[in-house]
């Protein structure tokens, strides 16, 4: 039981015209119809084996059932259409499985389980598989961001707030921020995986048809599937689904933040960094000169779609009695899409960060030779003498004059009748040197790198 379908086979089912654009091959495979079908069969198989282990069904029956649990023997499209009559694909799948298993083993197929037991447990297998691939991309993303953070400690650029240049920052600090977010998400994913629970409750959550064997079968099924044993069946207690949705939405959003930063840095007028080039990537169907932020665009699109799916999965918490009439059925496609899209955003962000082309010279140039971004520093320096409010106003005026006239900011400051006397040339040169106005940047970069080392030790 691996949760990782065979790539060659899975592509048969069709990856689609649009879906590859917003996800990775790994996630397409891990969440394909084929993967789902195998997961459903894996659960039926594990259930039979677990029940044989506990003595609820004959060992021979479990063997005979296990032999028929290869997704290659079933037709997902046909099952999907047959699923309409009962509202879920487990009903026709059990029929098909029973048809393949010879008597008397046939009687023990799906024993003691209800459709939701199979589907929910399969969903956790699919989620586990999908999260493993997502975490692999978070690993790449973190490694790439850590490399940038370490390499660009002294590469100065404009920190930008509300899309306007604010203060100088090292590019390494921006990368450290990407890293820290990625580590948070890795932590969340890593915490989620071992708690993914199996579902076994029978028709109404009592395991009535298993008599006194409910607990033993559940424990054995946990062993077979490698999933956690829940406190209670969770057929209408969907906190775990909501939590998965929250983590996936956060992964997608954090990845899209990196993509947005890069798309903005790639603007021709900024030109401080470029997505990695690849043959054909970023081209236009008509404009030979273009180099589009394609990876970033795909990550941003994936996150947009992901965030729309989270409330659908959270709303499924509001479930009627012992099985929801609709809320549950809305989960399957939403969870599948959300895994794909979160994985797509993380994968694209990893691709970007791993191969980012950084232009330190352009960063330096954009930082503004005129020194205006150090306005805060100058104002703070003269504040004790002229008062904070007047300092801020006069420094701001000098910055505005410098922008209009094109004259150096230093010159405008020196010429100010109130500020000038407090700002001799040496002082001004010192104040306007961005390299000495980076505050705790080095410390923050160190912290992020240290956290990275601890996140994947060894």
């Amino acid at each position: 039981l691996t949760g990782e379908p065979d790539a060659a086979v899975s592509w048969e089912a069709g990856s689609g015209l649009f879906e590859p654009i917003l996800t990775t091959d790994a996630l397409l495979l891990a969440t394909s119809d084929r993967a789902w079908l195998q997961a459903l069969l894996d659960v039926e198989c594990c259930l039979a084996v677990a029940q044989a282990e506990v003595g609820v069904i004959p060992k021979d029956a479990a063997d005979a059932i296990a032999e028929q649990c290869d997704a290659g023997d079933y037709d997902a499209d046909q099952l999907g259409r047959d699923a309409r009559a009962g509202g879920n694909p487990v009903i026709p799948l059990v029929t098909a499985l029973r048809a393949r298993v010879p008597a008397p083993a046939r009687e023990w197929v799906h024993h003691g389980a209800t459709s939701q037991d199979i589907l929910d447990t399969a969903a956790m297998l699919i989620t586990r598989g999908g999260l493993a691939f997502i975490d692999a991309d978070l690993y790449r993303l973190a490694a790439g961001a850590a490399g940038l953070a370490a390499a660009h400690r002294t590469t100065l650029m404009a920190g930008r707030t509300l899309l306007q240049p604010a203060l100088p920052i090292p590019f390494g600090l921006k990368a450290a921020g990407w890293l820290a977010a990625t580590l948070d998400n890795h932590t969340a994913v890593a915490r989620l995986i071992p708690g993914l629970p199996l579902q076994l409750g029978g028709a109404a959550g009592t395991l009535a048809s298993l008599g006194a064997d409910g607990a033993a079968v559940t424990a054995a099924l946990a062993g077979q599937t490698g999933l956690a044993e829940p406190l209670l069946p969770w057929h209408t207690a969907r906190q775990r689904i909501a939590e998965i949705a929250g983590v996936l939405g956060t992964v997608a959003g954090s990845a899209a933040k990196i993509a947005l930063d890069v798309a903005l840095l790639m603007q021709a007028e900024v030109a401080e960094a470029l997505e990695p080039a690849a043959p054909g990537r970023g081209g236009s169907s008509t404009m030979p000169h273009k180099r589009n932020p394609v990876l970033a665009t795909e990550a941003l699109a994936a996150a947009r779609r992901a965030h729309g799916l989270v409330p659908t999965l959270q709303a499924s918490l509001v479930a009627e009695h012992e099985r929801a009439a609709g809320a549950w059925h809305a989960e399957w496609g939403a969870l599948t899409d959300l895994l794909r899209l979160a994985g797509g955003a993380a994968g694209r962000a990893a691709d970007i960060v791993e191969g980012l082309e950084v232009d330190p010279e352009r960063m330096a140039a954009n930082l503004d030779g005129r020194g205006v971004l150090l306005a805060e520093r100058v104002a703070l320096h003269v504040a004790p003498e002229v008062g904070r409010a007047e300092a801020a106003a006069r420094v701001g005026d000098a910055a505005a004059r410098s922008a209009r006239s094109g004259r150096p900011f230093a010159e405008e400051l020196s010429g100010d009748p109130v500020l000038g006397p407090h700002l001799d040339t040496a002082t001004l040169t010192g104040l306007l040197d961005p390299r000495t106005y980076l505050g705790s940047s080095d410390l923050f970069i160190d912290r992020a790198l240290e956290a990275h080392r601890q996140a994947w030790p060894g």
Copy 2:
């Protein structure tokens, strides 16, 4: 150019394990990868033909291009994977189309257009096709609801507010409400379809590469595609997409309201109506006695998913400059899914209403022989004599006593020392007869039926 793909062929592409459960065959076909691929090719074909018509490209070239525009000659899965490099499937499709078209016609493939022109126009063809099928289900739904409204003018049941019995209503009035909502949605869909616009703007919305022929080509393309000519290219003015999303979300929600009513009426303890039976429908994988509201459940699930997609499409309004970096790319899958889900909800609601099994006797029984639902009427009757507040309080107490004691409400009312004197037996019998307390129900049913007759005249 029809927008209606060939069913036999389209199924090849796979309908999926989960998707049929929440949609109809018609929508699966109308929105399949195959349908999208054909729509994209239809646009390239129509563009060439339109340009030949106007004299921008040679007639022979258009013919040669048109010959290669059969989706059966292309591989959607391969195009999807190749689409990653440029972020959309039109780029590899144009490459593949050019490879099939012989020189010199090849040079005229995709002339003057940008990827977004092709994709947006194809999206409108797909939307037109999907809406046509949705409107067909609205027709069935309206017809079914109209039939119920007409047939059940005098079938009394409890009107229920906040899930509690309130006043008697004819079941026909409930059906008239379903009908009126359906007519509203039909009106919205019918208004939307003729305004679906083609997109043609070229690389940045100026149609620069068409020189002075932009307007003529646009008009000819409108003729070829049957789509409306927009005021301006709408590459980053997505109001129409947002409007489509709004209408589809409303269609899904209105259908789900009907489904919810029926699921609630089907509860064993209520048992006033049943979804139409069909072999295998509504069965459980374990419980032989069950008859589940499967159609309703599927409609409810479809609407839940649909409503999560609407804000994704609305957020795409917030697009950067002349082509969005992500917002546009998030539309394709969201629009496809939304068409399917709205169509699924409408289709299931139509199935329900067309074959609804109504149990007038159970409705009458649940209406409460004790007459408590007429409490409002009794209170209003005695209010002039005893004051409204005291009337309401005493009538409420009588209702509560009747519930506790099991004695008829009339008896408890007569026994009240203040109310009794104003309520002789004949008066009480009259007041507690629900048939004479239906207000404007008949009028409302008439209005809905008349509107139905006008909605699809002839």
Copy 3:
């Protein structure tokens, strides 16, 4: 009955710490608690007057009721807390109103109505008032955009796709796009307003307690409120609410698109346009040199919040039976917030566009003296001779060489061994002149201006 509360009084109720940031004063007033309270009282008043007109209640009673319908006499905060017991504020309001109206008129307060009748009708009054203010901002926005479109027909700038320079466009065309979107939204708002329906159904939608007078009272109430008479009561047929939500979400999104364009143009590295300056606007709490896109930021934030509210209102379509248990109650706050936020986005966009500072010189400079944005044109020009694919490749290479070397694009093109022979100096000068590669821009600007003239004739 105006729907426009008295400003001076309304501010008493508190505008809040955060709310003014994302909306306008007009919308704060139109949707304040005070405005809602007055609207609820207006409905009770109109109902009484309408019933007197029809003869259902005495004229004196209506007069006595009308006298007590001034919101200034009631305490919204107290009503809000008292509303918990019954789940809506109409129940305590009716109690409070009855307490003020002397007998015997008191008995006729709220006659024949249910809480939802009052609240829904008041919601339509609030919506009408809010939409009127929103449309006024759309008027300002359209006028501003039309002014820019007309003034900047020949102001060339880079059209940008996926955040990269693509082709030259007139700034006037970008403004025409803003205008066209605004006109679409004005059309939608203007179509919505006259159809806003009153609600009158009584306890379960039959108007039972009005006997045979239901239709007459409804018609009279339409006269009193100026609202449309619906086909049927719409207590659980919320298409109109969903439609309002869709339009408001679209208004917010379209306004935010303009804001995003301007925020991007304001980037120091782009610097092609600036929000209008105002004392104190756009300042930072620490950085004297900054000029932040504050209006744009507020519009973007408003749209983000707006889009989250739309699905909440659409989901309210899925209502149980004759009154929803929760879906209805979720509408009030969501609709209030959505009106504010859509109005806020539109208002800020109008402020931006009305006073936009455009820098044509910077636009020209960013358009790139090297002429690379005309690459498409050059490639199309030589394609007949060298083939489209080779033309695109070689032109792209020349653009890349020009970017690396800093040499003019023309020079790199001339130097290409294949392209050079087809591109003499005069030809190249002509091809690289952006003023002659604007396609249908003028036509599109004309169309938008003409549509503007027709949108608000006279």
Copy 4:
């Protein structure tokens, strides 16, 4: 520094016409404008004290600043309106605070901080306060559910799936499910609170203006506020906000699930449980006999609104560079509302569960004397003899005949020619006794109760 505003004062600011309906007094207080204003001032105060502690500013200055940090001295409405110019309320608040603090201390107000530092840290204080109240309601909810689980181990009712009776369950098991979900949410809230981080980054996240003192000031501020010290400033790394949103959405949804169960059980036709009665609660404005599920309705409405806010907060992850232009500004109102609504849902669910009126007799009656809900058990019993498929079919037919005829299920089973021989009277009596078909229900109840004991030990 408490995060718990003074109730008497806070009400002055107005609780609103609609807001109390969907939240609790505690949350209204904890998230009022007054509370926010105090939190903002608390952060300015703590910052000054922390800086004095570290020696960055004079102790006297910190004392002078601290003296002016009482929200009662400021006007939230005025600050809100003044906030428009800069896009956030901290800018005018700092101005107002500086105006009250005498020179020279005035110069040290807001030293080294940017608006976002103050607002984000205040948001964490507000969140901490709100979560504390929410957890108090989760405590009540858990205690109530545990009481019901323990008291109703043998109270049998119909377990219902897809709104249809399925199998017998103890009502105590349903309550144990509510309990387990509540414990999950308590765990999530309890894990969240200690990690709530302060924010301190200065203008662009480097703490440049604090020179070498950034780390020391940050640590001291953590001590003053009791908030966690983050790895890095998180101005555009909003994972924590997204996580808070996820947890609050889950709390709301889990509470609404309980509310939905109770609203469904309260249906007159089911009548198995009732919300606790209170004077005036659940009344109708017109119908004296009604008892509406008001608490449940309010919880359901609160959850609907809450789920629409989660994606708004998740989308704020996608932030530009070092401060987002809009995404950040969209958080404040959304977080405030989400705290209120999650708290409202939890509070109402606690009210419901604490006082739930359970009707075991009605539960037993609805369980169906005919025994049909044991159909699964009968089918499983005879399956070894007649085969599973035939068993299921014949048992299902018997159930259907029993429903039509009104004859006992046992009789129909005995009369079946195939089943009858395997079902003597004693066997049938045993099989149809629900008390012996409860599977692991007792175990599950035990587990939930044990987890409850461990959740709040001592």
